[in-house]
Amino acid sequence: MVSLRTKGSFLKLYSWLPILILYISVLNEFDFNYLNLEYFSFNFPFILIFFFTLKDFKHFDYILVFIAGLFNDTVVGLPLGISSLSYILICTATAYLRNITIRPNPVKDWFYFLFIISLINSLNYTILTLFFSFDLILMSYLVNTFFTFSFYIIFVSLFKYYLKGLND
């Protein structure tokens, strides 16, 4: 009885893991600054949100994603709502892709991801520079987009293992 209950709570925790990782990543901001790599950065929440909303993962609630965006803005110091809008737009893009796709193809998803993150980063850059008068380095955005796109395929293979483990 005890072991069943333990197994049940572990399963519950395991099924909530993606949203937990999302919150840890927005609060922690994996940055690797101490490696002193110039411009190097990637947006892990983008990859996570894109993958799990594309798979229509049942524990990936949009409102939780929205709140994670607010947390990210607070930690990074951006005006409130910017990251939330970006995350929700990713969710919209994946919902649209789900609706129009009959046979999913990982490579097509990958390039669709590139298109979406480029669009969202451009939107971010425009809002921040035009409406909030922020001085930003365009190169940082480009490098960030490139690394996010490159790491997508690696993280996707890890997430697939996770989903496989959950289904088993």
């Binding site: 940055d31 950065s41 409102i63 930690v75 939330s84 649209y96 380095i137």
Partner: protein, 409 residues
């Protein structure tokens, strides 16, 4: 054609409006909600400010807790890196310490003088108190360079409070909460600091480059040619945003697109900060003494006269002390002359005594020879019966007499 457009519209509409069983809100609602928040956050209402401060407090604390494992890895990495450079750094530090020790004394004097002059100009004493603050979040994003410290309005921190690492400027507070605040680092693109470049004494503005250095902005045309490597950059205090005379970094020359460029290498390494100092400035007016207050009552109407009077008094004091010093100086000079004369006399006396001693030694040797000559002279003198002897007066004869008549050494 029309059907594909319909499909697209249906897919879009479905994506925005359709809620699956788990979702409580449609995406369109959330998009509008985000836009609403963005607009609200750009407005400066009191309610928004307070709610933002509450969210900030909660998120910063959570972020600090969540960051513990990453910070541990980061610290370990830095420690390993430090150990490898430990000896070289130690040697460099020793030589730096020696030169700093010598500069310290003169700096203290300058600081004291500076403070006195400022008091004279402002009529108030600005006493600053540096409080130690811990950095609780330092996730500088690739786009914004800022840190969160654990001191806020509760600790008298204000928007614009200068933040230091030891005595080097790090940045200033741009967002204030009750127990936390956000510091914009000098390396951020949005940071602008009015500076003076020494020793050329050139005024400029340093802005962050978005990486770990700064760059020179708004320098008067023609003056950039005077800049040299390793010039010191410190705050000029123009605009009263930053306190004047605070060191920032050194100028470094580099070439970009075949043009000579200068970057500012900050003294402080912003990626290694753990604790910083926040400078709380309080201004207290200089209260006149009872005696002075009577005199000042007449001059109260004209503060310029009062300042002039203070300056005149200062001048008088300085002149009086100057006279004292001159008099003392003359006394000392005459004393030195007397002493020099005494030294000369004593030297003469010593040399004459030395001569006497030398003469005495010579006479003693001669007497000894004459005494021995009387006794042993016949043994050393060359004669018909003494072929081995020496001619009287020769060096051999003298030696023989001193050896008490022994001819073969």
């Amino acid at each position: 054609m029309a059907s594909s457009r319909d499909d697209f519209i249906i897919a879009i509409r479905s994506a925005f409006l359709k809620k699956s069983t788990q979702q409580k809100f449609s995406l369109l609602t959330l998009v509008f909600f985000s836009l609403f928040i963005i607009i609200l956050s750009s407005l400066d209402f009191k309610v928004i400010r307070y709610s933002k401060a509450v969210i900030n407090e909660l998120v910063y604390r959570s972020s600090f807790i969540v960051s513990v494992p990453e910070n541990f890895i980061k610290d370990s990495f830095i420690q390993v890196k430090d150990y490898t450079n430990f000896f070289n750094k130690y040697k460099k530090n020793i030589s730096e310490l020696e030169s700093l020790k010598s500069n310290y004394v003169s700096n203290e004097i300058t600081e004291y003088e500076n403070r006195e002059l400022k008091e004279l100009i402002n009529d108030y004493v600005s006493s600053s108190n540096k409080i130690l603050a811990k950095i609780i979040v330092d996730h500088d994003s690739p786009f914004l360079k800022s840190i969160i410290i654990n001191k806020g309005s509760k600790d008298n921190i204000k928007i614009g409070t200068n933040i230091y690492d030891q005595s080097y400027l790090v940045g200033r507070v741009i967002e204030l909460n009750y127990k936390t605040s956000r510091v914009l680092l000098l390396s951020d693109l949005n940071s602008n600091v009015p500076v003076t470049i020494a020793p050329q004494n050139i005024q400029a503005i340093v802005t962050g480059s978005g990486v770990d250095s700064g760059k020179i902005k708004y320098i008067k045309s023609g003056l950039s040619g005077q800049l040299i490597d390793d010039s010191i950059v410190y705050t000029s205090g123009t605009g009263a945003i930053f306190k004047s005379g605070v060191p920032i970094g050194k100028l470094k020359f580099f070439e970009e697109n075949s043009t000579n460029e200068y970057k500012v290498e900050f003294y402080s390494d912003f990626s290694q900060l753990k604790y910083v100092f926040a400078e709380i400035i309080t201004q207290t007016s200089i209260l006149p003494t009872t005696q002075e207050s009577n005199e000042n009552s007449v001059e109260k109407n004209n503060p310029l006269d009062a300042k002039l009077k203070i300056l005149e008094d200062e001048l008088n004091i300085i002149e009086e002390s100057n006279k004292k010093f001159q008099k003392e100086n003359e006394n000392l000079k005459s004393e030195i002359n007397n002493l020099n004369y005494k030294v000369l006399n004593l030297n003469n006396k010593i040399s004459s005594q030395n001569k006497t001693i030398d003469q005495f030694n010579l006479d003693t040797d001669e007497l000894k020879f004459l005494r021995l000559n009387l006794t042993y002279g016949h043994k050393c003198r060359k004669s018909l019966f003494n072929n081995k002897g020496f001619i009287v007066g020769s060096a051999g004869y003298k030696d023989c007499v001193l050896r008490k008549g022994k001819i073969d050494g």
